[in-house]
Amino acid sequence: MIKLKELLKMVSYQENLDREGFILKETKDDQPGIGKGSQVQAGINNEQKTGEGKQTTGADAQQGNAQAGQQLEKVEQKSGKPGQKTGKSDQQAGKAEQQHGQDREQEGADKGDGETSGWNKKLRSRRTFRKPIPSSGNNAHKAGGDGQVSPLLKENRDVITRLYGLPQNKDIVVRDFTINTVPPVRSFAVFIDGLTDSILQNLLLQAVMAFAGGTSPSGGEKIADLVKDSLLPSNQIEATSSLRKLLDGVNYGETAFFFEGCGKALLVETRGWERRSVDRPESEQTIHGPQEAFTENLRVNTALLRKMMKTEQLSTEMLTVGSRIKTYIAVMYLRDLANPALVDEVKRRIKGVKVDYLQDSGILAQFIEDNPYNLNPTFLSTERPDRVASKIIEGKVAILVDGSPFALVVPSTMYEQLHTGEETYIRWQFGTYIRYLRAFAFLISFLLPGLYLSLVLFHHEMLPTELLLAIAGNRERVPFPSIVEVLMMEFALEFIREAGLRVPGVMGTTIGIVGALILGQAAVEANIVSPILVILVAITGLASFAIPYYSLAFTTRIYRFVYIALGATLGFFGISIGLFIQVLLTANLKSFGVPYLVPTAPRTAAGADVVTRLPVFFHESRPDYLNPQDITREPKVSRTWLKKDGGDLN
């Protein structure tokens, strides 16, 4: 016999502490700003900004009657050092949580908030979402690293400990040592384990600790200069008193040396970490030509380009993007060739990007591109240094992003995106042939299903009678209307394509081919599609693989569906509507001041290399639309050995 109380207990809601586990609560930054809360918030933000380890933040206060100390600790840790980054994601996840568990949580937890209706909460949060609260990230950096190096070693060490969240942060190593000059100078080195080359550091420490004897620093500020000039045998040293610079350096693998009594610290280049070696290109394979590809390391990439373009005119300008975490961007161009206006525009755009953290060149490209709403890409993204080199020599600008093996080349035209290095490295006849084939494939890849549908639905008269009767006969057994058939097969192909990307290695290609074949064959046998459609979709897929640029292939994939819809509703007239509007929109596009369809759309000087490829000795001038500083690249006679007495014999 169960007692009533137990029964009630059974049916009433009990919070299950085991199951609930960790709940991401909002941090103060994330809270809906109440009128008075904004000030409180600002204050709390400031607290956070100074990076006090122990967070007695509002979040804490929120936890007043909160669930478990476990959660408290987690929140604490989370709003610890690695900063505002996870704090931010904290907050973001917390926002998501907010939507779900809002009522339940805020009910008790909210002290400073009189309102309890969740809907109001949401409304307010949405409203205050819009308020231009400066992101705490920026301020954190500014406030945190804005200082100068102090002459007192202890102060420096305290600052470092605070900023890096030591001693919990085990990546940072602080190595105390004494430089045995006469008198000895106490110092310590800060670096991040894993980002530095330990052999190099050992050499440096050895030099400073063991072989420094004899020199007499004149004390004070001169110590840093002395060590820099005479003692540390490193190939890149900088003496600086800006804490920000030191932090940036240490974050990226350099070692910072602090000296007692010196207001300057040394930043030594000791980078060395595990990286991918230079390998063959993954996505742009050619038969001829160099087979190296960019890697994720910026220095390796610039080196790959430099070793191809051995000239002093090649400039690499370094910019940084990212307010919370800096990403290095290298802009490379030829100083005496590229249009200075172009270079200035590129730099202007990159500098104008305000973002938290920039991971990849693709993201940068989306930030600086001209027309983000059009389907066509207006920049070229490649992982082959030989391709980038050939573009730089034409007068274009290359943008390399640290951490990304894809380089951007601007400005870019559609014809250029349909070229590969393959045609340049082989003879011009074969290059022309490939180009025409590719142009045809480009057209097919988005027009074919639409054309098929418009033929079969509207324009029966255009098919030869036997073909039409064959199609009609095969379609008798298929229960779907044509457009459903086509859409089904197209989606199946898209699925296969997407899935094929993720199936691991060896199985990948097999499953792709076998899957496609079997799928098609089985579909035909089951009378779901007609055989001609399988062929059609396969040809379309193959044609879209023939487009060398991945983004452009995507463009055609999306256009294909538009044309399917148009062809099925309005026949050939629909196709022509689509073509006209597509040409209009594409002709309207500009890429860094260069029209997208040059040299055919605005008629500039005919390039020697647009679709038909002329022999190499006819490529006398660079593309006209770039307006480079020097338009000639070959003299009129490029093969002087043809002349009877021409050509040197030395």
Binding site: L455, F458, H459, E461, M462, P464, L570, G571, F572, F573, G574, I575, S576, I577, L579, F580, I581, V583, L584, A587, N588, P595, L597, T600, A601, P602, R603
Partner: protein
């Protein structure tokens, strides 16, 4: 002022040529054959002469006022009131042509490709294309025409070549058709009325100024009329002029006749694509011309807000005629003579008044 963008002479020539060729896709050549019998192609040669003369006169005017288009020149020469009247004539000419083309191209599309689609849907589609083109500007239209000219002109040439096996040169005789007088008189006037000299004059600043107007205009007219003459000649050779006057769409009929073996026949559906592109370009151009003329007339800073109401007006008026034959009759009786007004009469008047004023001024103090 109105920012128009510029484009080079190559694109300008193609743009004007395509704009002038557009008529041949419609029931218009049938009319020429009716007037001139088997010598329909000669009327185009006569029209070419008249069109070249029109271009010349217009270029003389434009060179006297460099930096201005015909709208501003008319206003300056005639004074504000009369000038505005004439400019309104120009604007209404553009609108009339645009309306005509919308209706006739839609009807042609129905006859040729989509017999069960209502006219309004196709008109809407054409106007949408025209609106998009006019909105994006004349530079984009010029680039589009440059991109498509290979297919448009190449397609026409392809039809003409493909029909050669069925041509019978004897059909061109009697050589002068219904007589030199109808051929070169009424026929030439009719052929000359299809030009768009006034459109070129409105676009003159975008084309690079008055200096190049003459060469651009000459080349465009040569291409357009030359191709038209070749087309009509081939048409007459393939189909006797008796039967020819019966067909609504002679171009369509021609492409239906192509028979190059078991496989390559009845390819007129491909030419539907060519027609649509030409029709869309033409409608976009006339809409743009009307909007820009109106904007210049009213001294507005931009022409884009005018596109939507003008387009809507075109759409509504194009649906007014009850059927295709009455539309063709309106075109014949009303529009053709009306077209002579802004294209030829107006420049001549401007020139005369300009000279008069100069004499008056010289004769004055």
């Amino acid at each position: 002022m109105i920012r128009e963008g510029t484009f080079g002479p190559a694109e300008a020539v193609i743009l004007l040529a395509i704009s002038n060729i557009a008529r041949f896709f419609l029931p218009y050549p049938r009319n020429l054959v009716e007037i001139a019998g088997s010598a329909a192609w000669m009327t185009l040669l006569g029209g070419l002469v008249l069109a070249l003369a029109g271009i010349y006169v217009m270029s003389v005017i434009l060179n006297k006022y460099p930096g201005k288009t015909i709208i501003e020149i008319t206003e300056e020469v005639f004074g504000p009131a009369v000038g505005m009247l004439f400019n309104l004539v120009t604007v209404s000419f553009f609108l009339a042509v645009g309306t005509l083309f919308t209706r006739e191209f839609s009807e042609a599309m129905i006859i040729a490709a989509l017999p069960e689609t209502p006219v309004s849907v196709i008109s809407v589609a054409f106007l949408a294309m025209g609106l998009a083109g006019a909105y994006l500007g004349i530079e984009i239209l010029a680039r589009t025409s440059r991109l498509s000219y290979l297919y448009v002109l190449g397609g026409i040439v392809l039809i003409l070549l493909a029909i050669i096996p069925q041509c019978n040169p004897d059909n061109l005789f009697p050589l002068f058709g219904k007589g030199p007088l109808p051929v070169f008189g009424a026929g030439s006037l009719s052929a000359a009325a299809i030009t768009e000299v006034i459109l070129a004059a409105v676009l003159v600043q975008a084309m690079g100024g008055a200096k190049q107007f003459r060469s651009i205009g000459f080349r465009a007219m040569l291409i357009a009329y030359g191709l038209g003459a070749a087309f009509l000649a081939t048409l007459t050779m393939a189909i006797n002029y008796h039967s020819l006057t019966e067909f609504t769409l002679p171009f369509y009929k021609l492409s239906r006749l192509i028979y190059l073996g078991r496989f390559f026949q009845r390819v007129e559906a491909v030419f539907v694509i060519i027609w649509s592109v030409v029709g869309a370009l033409k409608i976009a151009l006339t809409l743009y011309g009307a909007a820009v003329s109106l904007a210049r007339l009213l001294k507005l800073p931009d022409y884009r807000p005018l596109i939507w109401p003008l387009g809507l007006l075109m759409f509504m008026v194009s649906l007014l005629p009850p059927d295709l034959p009455s539309m063709i009759r309106i075109d014949l009786d009303f529009l053709r003579p009306f077209a002579l007004l802004p294209n030829y009469v107006l420049p001549v008047l401007v020139l005369i008044i300009f000279q008069l004023r100069r004499w008056v001024r010289r004769a004055g103090p």
